[in-house]
Symmetry: C2
Subunit: 198 residues, 2 copies
């Protein structure tokens, strides 16, 4: 098969999806072509619409195709609690998994001076504006528990202190259902230091 142009291009393009290598891409391409052309066409349409129309929410910077996302526009949600996350995917998972009913703020990254990511890239100025407006009583720091995530939480915690706003950090410790035997030592020592009254 010296030159199966379009089929080869399709397989190559599918490799841009995370977790998809040449073998899975091949399987996907053949599956769509042989069994689900309608699905493939629909995927193509929606993909193009999404890539071109989804932008960032004016208020919380999450991904949305409208100016103000549904969460920010929702009058039933609390305006006095703000959950700060690293990515739009985090908004999605927190909203699916928890009963949190406040608003969000998406940093789109974490402080990482070596990669040239400072407060400007994370929209800290916008965050300060929101904090200074006075409606917010608590911020929940839900950045990841990596070194950069912790540093970012610390940095934003200090800004909150400046405005006399309560800052909380989501709990770190043993995952639910996790067995102590198999937990890494960092998490375990963190869980011991962070123990609470029973």
């Amino acid at each position: 098969m010296q030159n199966q142009g379009l089929l080869k291009d399709l397989i190559q393009s599918l490799c841009c999806l995370p977790g998809v290598g040449p073998k899975s891409a091949q399987r996907m391409a053949f599956h769509l072509l042989q069994r689900n052309r309608a699905g493939g066409r629909q995927l193509s349409d929606i993909l193009s619409q999404a890539m071109n129309n989804i932008g960032y929410c004016r208020d919380c910077r999450t991904l949305t195709e409208v100016e103000v996302c549904d969460v920010c526009a929702n009058q039933l949600r609390d305006n006095d609690v703000l959950c700060i996350v690293e990515s739009a995917a985090d908004v999605w998972v927190i909203d699916q998994a928890t009963s949190f009913k406040g608003k969000y703020f998406v940093l789109h990254g974490r402080l990482s001076p070596l990669d040239g990511i400072g407060p400007d890239q994370l929209g800290i100025d916008k965050l300060e504006q929101r904090l200074s407006a006075g409606a917010i009583k608590e911020i929940i720091l839900a950045t990841n528990s990596t070194i950069e995530g912790q540093a970012t939480a610390h940095f934003i915690g200090e800004i909150a202190a400046k405005f006399n706003i309560r800052a909380t950090r989501i709990a770190h410790g043993i995952p639910m259902g996790g067995e102590l035997e198999f937990i890494d030592s960092g998490t375990l020592s963190h869980a011991f230091n962070g123990r609470r009254e029973f």
Copy 2:
């Protein structure tokens, strides 16, 4: 997130890919939106082109965007050996893995009377035409080693006999590097019965 329309649609559409569930689809959608919009746009373009333009080769019925596929159009390949496979994906893997230089014929399925798949659906009439033309000296039956695949091979083998054409079947046995201990009993007994001079 009551109504994140387009984002939700995108995640749902990505689930049409084989092996992709809601979690992977979510990861793919966020990855494309946050890190690789160009890749997403390109995938959308090529997907739509492929779904609309890729059809079946006039001669061998494989997937191609031109009337006669590269393999059939290639004058350097043998015209006297025909390899018969169940799907276009098989053409692709055989061409990548082996040094086979003959032509192919794609059945797009296997005989399966219960599912209403008979000789008509598999293009057997077209195959008979080719066999009757007289150029073909050998057919290689490379259908899968399932019950239906075997039955299909048998059926086509009888057609070949009618035209006095030699029919061979790809070898079944222990996979290369396979350890006897872990091979299923069907394969093992097949390998014993099909043993050859060493």
